[in-house]
Homo-oligomer: 285 residues x 4
């Protein structure tokens, strides 16, 4: 996939616009990012306030106006982004491009489907851009270590989740047979829901065993859950510790922002830009 | 114990059937596995839906028919497995053989004992076969690391569980004496149940202390539970990390699927088949 | 302190009794231990059943008789222990000696104080002897590693607990000011109790904030508790992992059962018995 | 910033007072600290008792008198501290100086604002001084390791918290759309509150899904929370383990009490006092 780039040379209006909108350098680009993040947070706050009945009744018109104002602004921003980036697909099909589109659709959707405007909270995901504004490389590096740890552990986690799913289905069914409707175990899916609530130690208490046999089984499930919670923690901790021991060499390509974790790599594997020699140690002094 | 094998040479119908039913090679064997897993999941879903009262009332006949259809299918599959494997005991007494039998019994049991058909959810355990279908060695290797970590930690875990059992019995009795029936502590077993619910941080709230003294003791138990939850996590994490540091050499015997974790082993300890030289590093790049 | 020893040579009745009661060798000594543990568990079960109202009403006389029978048996056992051990203090002041005495007192106490007999559940602590019966050294070694890990971490844990206590007092007071009596926050101690219930993620729900401001603060406390739970786990895990890396050399003195964790020690530091050369690696293959 | 020091030579009254109030040496300085901590704990207990309605009604006058007595005492102490330390700012702007001031304000505030006196529980923070009294260096060293581990992990934690905030906002909004007012999800902020209660496994049960779709989503959120709880634990554990492996060289400057964690440092980086050669290994044997 080709990395997104400017649609015109940097001395044209289109090129300068690209620098401001897509760039994160100190100056206009960073100011644009900072203002954008504030606008996103403000618009999410408005959507959340709009859902509070007492508030909506008193300020219905104002809230709708503000909401449409934000949507118009973000729609314009999306159009400008498409205008000044080439190839367009490289942006529209990227993670940020999809989130940007999903952020403006709910308000238009609310014209056909009342309540749809609340889906606009998805624009909170745009805030992830915040990592690109402040100390870019370090945050991306740390996020990369966390996601590498999770990726390395994916087979262990899959084994673990299949085990847990089998446990909750069997336990939920047995509890349904033992307790039945009086204790709230009205069906097997209900019993499975209870198993998950108990095994994860959430424990709402809306469904709880009342017979001695049910309580005994529940006690075993809780102690089991107590032990089981140790397993994912152990998996993730071991991976993070091992990645830490490997030197935690994480660098970001100065050209395409690809995150390189191979300490011996000298060139970016996507755009062949030279990587800086001494990798910055994230989280270091 | 002798490993299960085909009952006839591979060029006969019986031999080919063995390959398809017991084999996991790409081709008919893998297709069989994939379809079987879908059927298992579908039959578990039917059993769960059957327990939902509103659903059962409307579709009682359909559900019973489908359920008997699945049971007939799995019974036939069990018969064919016995027909084409030798020695028969090697299959019927293996983990999968027992689960396969337990999966078909509940429906027949329901003729004598109403409600017994819900035990059929145990067939969800057959889904564990899924690990044999996709990337066999890697999943078995990871499962093996997790179970080795738990096995290495078994003495520590035994010490831990005996300690926890002593704590919950003593705490439950003291709370029974302090709080008594008004707060729901109607007996010592009830108090022990409350201790387990609290120590594991599940906290249903169906039983909760109401006197100042009881609340003070409960607060100490919670902080204790907070600290105690750290112990099994610490045990499991340390074991997983240590196994990881030992190179995580996990190989699967190409002949009998025994999982070998000794990095220096050159031959399978059960069937003497040569093991591949370079062990695949599970979870690696 | 002098280690407890037999009161007479092994060829006298008194000496043989000592071997049977205090020894854990295969033969009479181990049979005695096994039967004792079963009796202890049975007597704890009787105490627990005695507290169940419906059961007590029907079987009051039987339960009282059984309970006094167990107490007479344990009193006799305590007397025999004192008779055949010298110096007597070495036993009566040891951990097991104190537990043995506390186990028989509650039944006598119940003559003066109704309900006192339920304190007899403390005899469940006598079950800890189980570790001495089966594979003695290994269990004591693992218990020793766990308690060493906790001892090494004691300063970190003290810092952590003081921090948590300060947080729950300040948060509980602020919630009392915000929420007040309507939400169940009737006093500061009540607020502190709620803080502990929330921070430890137990969450009974008997007291819960109802105002938006209170809910916002509660949300922060929960996320804080989420992070704080990581600290004791991290402390304990790091200690266990470090002890594991140091070779986990744990040996038990063949003479006085002192647990030695210094890998270089050649003689028991209490009775100067020679320690076995190659320390058994607990949890090893 | 200049370290606080005595306002006069040690042979004057003012100099001796400084030694007693600010010093922690065995003798008068340590006695002063011990008495101060007891007074602080007593005054916090009085504030907490004062908030219990039944207690306040019976002993209103006594409680007010005691409370004003403590406040007068702490005000005098604050004045004396200012009198005998130079430069004054080095004390008043330090952590302890600010806490000391905040500890006496709430009682005066209660004259204007009823209920304000309960804020006096903030004086529990003064108890942190306890670490300075007993085994100073060791506790500060351990606290320093914990805070270093948290500081090293700050970027990972920031990434984690932003992720969690995005999840709870999106999940809370979707649950609001699915469940609505009947289940207690009266607005998006209410849904976000429920998300946090569930994801952190607190689970009050005051708001809980009632529709099958809502319960299914809730089950996914719980399993997600189960996995997510592993991440901060993994981060903190890995940092603590790494700091432990680096030798845990933590020394406290004998002159200004700066905590030095660089094992090769020979002089205090703030006051140039020579550091002791062999660093004490905290948590060591």
């Amino acid at each position: 996939m080709v990395a997104p780039g400017p649609a015109a040379p940097p001395d044209t209006l289109r090129g300068r616009t690209y620098e401001v909108i897509f760039g994160h350098e100190p100056g206009p680009g960073r100011w644009f990012d900072a203002i954008l993040i504030l606008l996103i947070l403000a618009s999410v706050a408005v959507v959340m306030l709009d859902s509070v009945a007492s508030f909506r009744e008193r300020h219905a018109d104002t809230l709708i106006a503000i909401e449409w104002g934000f949507t118009a602004l973000f729609t314009a921003e999306y159009a400008v982004r498409i205008w000044c980036v080439r190839p367009v697909r490289a942006y529209t099909r990227s993670f940020y491009g999809i989130i940007d589109l999903l952020s403006i659709l709910p308000t238009y959707l609310s014209l056909a489907l009342p309540g749809g405007q609340y889906l606009a909270v998805i624009r909170v995901l745009r805030v992830i851009r915040v990592f690109r504004v402040f100390k870019l490389a370090r945050f991306l590096g740390e996020a990369s270590i966390l996601s590498m740890a999770l990726r390395n552990a994916r087979y262990k986690i899959a084994v673990f989740i299949v085990t847990v799913v089998c446990i909750v289905i069997v336990v939920g069914s047995v509890m349904y047979l033992i307790e039945g409707a009086p204790a709230g175990f009205t069906s097997i899916p209900q019993g499975v829901y209870w198993s998950i609530v108990t095994l994860t130690t959430v424990g709402y208490g809306d469904i709880a065993p009342i017979t001695p046999l049910g309580k005994t089984l529940a006690a075993f499930v809780m102690i089991l859950g107590y032990g089981i919670i140790a397993v994912p923690t152990g998996i993730v901790t071991a991976e993070i510790a091992q990645l830490g021991a490997q030197g935690r060499s994480v660098r970001t390509c100065p050209s395409c922002e690809h995150v390189e974790t191979d300490a011996d790599a000298r060139y970016c594997r996507f755009c062949a830009a030279a990587l800086t020699e001494r990798p910055a140690r994230p989280g270091g002094p």
